[in-house]
């Protein structure tokens, strides 16, 4: 099963109501499990962390509201809890929301009410996430592909998906550069060509510390290119 599919737990003693909610959820996005009582729900939650839980209020062993309070630790923090009930009293709705429900749908549920609530709370975001504190953020390196557009004896012109700051030191590699004899830490961004090119994706880069061998190689290349154009 693709991990893009979201798991849903439906806790409702009315099988028709459960089936209905289940049918509203597109199968290519959601995988729903229906349980008819709290003890089955507890069993499921001990093993699984669903993205969304639909919870009825009037249930045989224990009400949905009691379940919210008494099994607080069992309901995963990451899960979105949506109440599903025919009870319309403000007091009940208020209590359910106070106990941690994200939404409250009044029965009979329609495709519209179910999907609106689901989309509102998922918002394309993942339910499972981990934030790192400022001092534990993961130091990593990213690499993007770019293009070398032009070359001279002191500068390069590159086309890249990154918008650089002027005077910034950047690391560039690539066969065309290593063939010339460059090392990756020789490059400084300049603003020379900013007014001359039409796209912000073009960046002028000055290289520093080029050996005479490198400069000779660049000259050789430029002469060869000019011959190509003749």
């Amino acid at each position: 099963m693709s991990k893009r599919i979201k798991e849903v737990l439906i806790i409702d003693d009315d099988p028709i109501s459960s089936k209905l909610v289940n049918r509203f959820l597109p199968t290519d996005e959601f995988h729903a499990v229906e349980v008819s009582c709290i003890s089955e729900a507890v069993e499921y939650l001990l093993e699984n962390t669903p993205h969304i839980i639909f919870l009825d209020i009037m249930l045989p062993e224990m009400s949905g509201l009691e379940f919210q309070q008494e099994c607080k630790d069992l309901i995963p923090k990451e899960s979105i809890l949506i109440m599903l009930s025919s009870r319309t009293e403000k007091k009940v709705i208020h209590k359910a929301m106070q106990n941690g429900a994200a939404d409250y749908i009044i029965k009979p549920a329609t495709r519209n009410t179910v999907m609106t609530a689901v989309k509102k709370h998922l918002k394309g975001q993942s339910v499972f996430s981990k934030d790192f504190l400022p001092n534990e953020m993961l130091d990593c390196t990213m690499t993007v592909q770019a293009e070398l557009k032009a070359l001279g004896e002191t500068d390069l012109l590159i086309h890249s998906p990154i918008k650089f700051e002027s005077e910034e030191k950047i690391r560039i590699t690539g066969k065309v550069l290593s063939d010339i004899g460059f090392s990756e830490d020789q490059f400084i961004v300049n603003s020379k060509y900013l007014n001359k090119v039409s796209s912000a994706k073009y960046t002028g880069v000055t290289f520093r510390g080029a050996s005479n061998k490198v400069i000779k190689n660049i000259r050789g290349m430029i002469i060869r290119w000019n011959k190509l154009f003749d």
Partner: protein
């Protein structure tokens, strides 16, 4: 008139450099030793220094560069001139605080272009650039450091030094692979959004994992659920 102070122990090259620079309307003070350079430095107040790294009276050029940096900070441009062509030597000088490095024999056109770019602003240096012929291998790779602040089932949110355009494919390597227990060099993601946090001035991007990378998606989910 902009002032350039140069130090080189070879009398011929010193004369040559002085003449080349003076022809381009710079005022030049030339010294043959580090000692002489330092004695004249404060009074001459150069706008740029040209230092031969191989001078060896009271220490080498590297020591002189460090001394200048300690004394007046990073604003004064320093260009090193050296007969060493080795990448290691070049990096040594750049890391000591030099802004650029020119190898001997000095090409006067490049010297003047570099001097002009430091003294008159980068827009003034005017050596031409040439387009790569179409069809040639022009692929290059740019690497940047980043910090991942959030990881979720579908991607990561990270702080990066520069603005990355939407829909850019990036490869991330480093600690995240170890954390997730992945035995490979990098993971591939697509940048979905980049925003600038106005309070902290940080650039924050959100990038998504590849949908068909089942191994990665499984490892990410295991990690988040178990952490």
């Amino acid at each position: 008139m902009k002032k350039i102070q140069l130090v080189d122990d070879g009398p011929i090259i010193r004369k040559l450099l002085k003449k080349t620079l003076e022809k381009s309307n710079y005022e030049v003070m030339d010294n043959s030793t580090t000692k002489e350079f330092l004695e004249n430095f404060s009074e001459f107040e150069p706008d740029l220094c040209l230092i031969d790294i191989n001078i060896d009276d009271i220490g080498d050029g590297l020591v002189l560069i460090k001394a200048i940096r300690n004394k007046i900070g990073n604003t004064l441009p320093i260009i090193v001139i050296s007969s060493h062509e080795d990448t290691r030597d070049i990096n040594l000088a750049l890391n000591a605080g030099a802004n650029d490095y020119i190898c001997k024999p000095v090409d006067s056109m490049i010297l003047l272009a570099k001097v002009a770019s430091f003294l008159n602003g980068v827009n003034e240096s005017s050596l031409p650039i040439f387009n790569l012929p179409s069809g040639s291998d022009n692929t290059i790779y740019i690497s940047q450091d980043l910090q991942i602040k959030t990881i979720n089932e579908y991607g990561v949110e990270f702080i990066c030094p520069d603005y990355i355009y939407q829909n850019t494919y990036i490869n991330i390597s480093g600690y995240i692979l170890k954390l997730l227990g992945l035995d490979r060099d990098d993971i591939r993601l697509k940048v979905i959004s980049t925003e600038i946090n106005k309070e902290t001035d940080q650039i924050i991007s959100y990038a998504q994992f590849q949908e068909d990378d089942e191994e990665l998606l499984n490892k990410v989910r295991d990690y988040i659920v178990n952490s």
